[in-house]
Symmetry: C2
Subunit: 209 residues, 2 copies
């Protein structure tokens, strides 16, 4: 199998951290998103959706969507569990994964992609071009700050997002906090619980994956 | 347990169809989103996020996010499986679920919530108010049509979205096609494979849940 990757981007990083937590090594190939390589004829033939990360299995089957790739490896190798064990744990991991994505990762992406010149006509990832919408910049910044508050509220009562165990929800939220640096937003000094959690996650060997 | 519900809205419908497929009955209580009941003091005390569907367990634990609620019931009662069985099936269900949400459901929601007077200052669901952004209306319509093309392309080669088995990905996509009717978009006559799939899903008893 092969994982199409791009080291600086947040979504491929989620998958790399996940694989590092599992101790799984997968051959990777970088697709230079900064140069638009995901839109090249060569990569379109591999993934017509024109997104990374993208996992291609030995039989040619392709899997897009970071969390779909993570689930594939979770099912292949359940230990250590990163999607929860009990029904309630599984539900809370799913809930916090989604909240981290919708309220955090997508908010930062909106603020960045609708303002940075490098994303002109690329306000959304994928095959089609979409113009930047300036109103999404301020909204994305506001939502990112609100997400930091959500993290602080939750982590004042919980070691990790889904409970007292590390999960894929923490990976997404951690990557989101770093990604927010691209729009010059950081966890406020006042958010002591979120900062304690951030440092805990950053200290894991997987964080440098 | 109790499921906070609102029959006309697409997300609670996804959960109701899922439960009907499983043959699980859960007591429900309607929260009248049209009247803004999700923002009332009474409902804020139940779910400070101010969204439905919302599942409250007997011990008081709350679960938001439609797919998190579905996963809870999948783990409690695995049959019939709606998130896939093998690792590859699980990955493809996750991938198509997410594509149906990001490329379909969220696109329709953007077009609707940024135009309809009923959603003034409510461009996004949840606790906080967000102004409507007119540029998201046309983008949402364009993305919805593109999603119909994605469905047609996929369903020309596959009985259901994730393969030859019905899954939660089909539930999301089916609900999205009906939801698109709210912005006056329907599967084009030319999309014969998507229409065949739509009629197959609509014929299931769960579709009326």
């Amino acid at each position: 199998m092969k994982l199409y990757d791009y080291p600086p981007a947040p979504n491929p990083r989620r998958v790399r951290i996940f694989l590092a937590e599992k101790g799984i090594e997968v051959p990777t190939e970088a697709v230079d998103l900064r140069q638009g390589a995901q839109l090249s004829e060569a990569f379109r033939r591999i993934n017509p959706q024109c997104v990374v990360p993208y996992l291609v299995l030995d039989d040619g089957t392709g899997i897009s969507e970071s969390i779909a790739i993570c689930r594939y490896f979770e099912a292949l190798q359940p230990d250590p569990p990163l999607f929860g064990k009990t029904p309630l744990e599984q539900a809370l991991v799913e809930m916090w994964s989604r909240r981290a994505e919708f309220e955090g990762l997508l908010a930062v992406a909106d603020a960045l992609r609708n303002s940075a010149p490098a994303f002109k006509n690329r306000a959304l990832p994928g095959h089609d071009d979409y113009e930047q919408i300036p109103a999404l910049v301020e909204r994305g910044q506001r939502r990112t700050k609100r997400f930091f508050d959500v993290l602080e509220e939750r982590l004042a009562h919980s070691t990790f997002l889904a409970g007292d165990f590390f999960s894929v929800a923490d990976i997404t939220a951690f990557v989101t906090v770093d990604f927010a640096g691209w729009i010059k937003l950081t966890l406020p000094e006042t958010h002591i619980n979120a900062r304690r959690w951030y440092e805990t996650v950053r200290a894991r060997p997987s964080a440098s994956a």
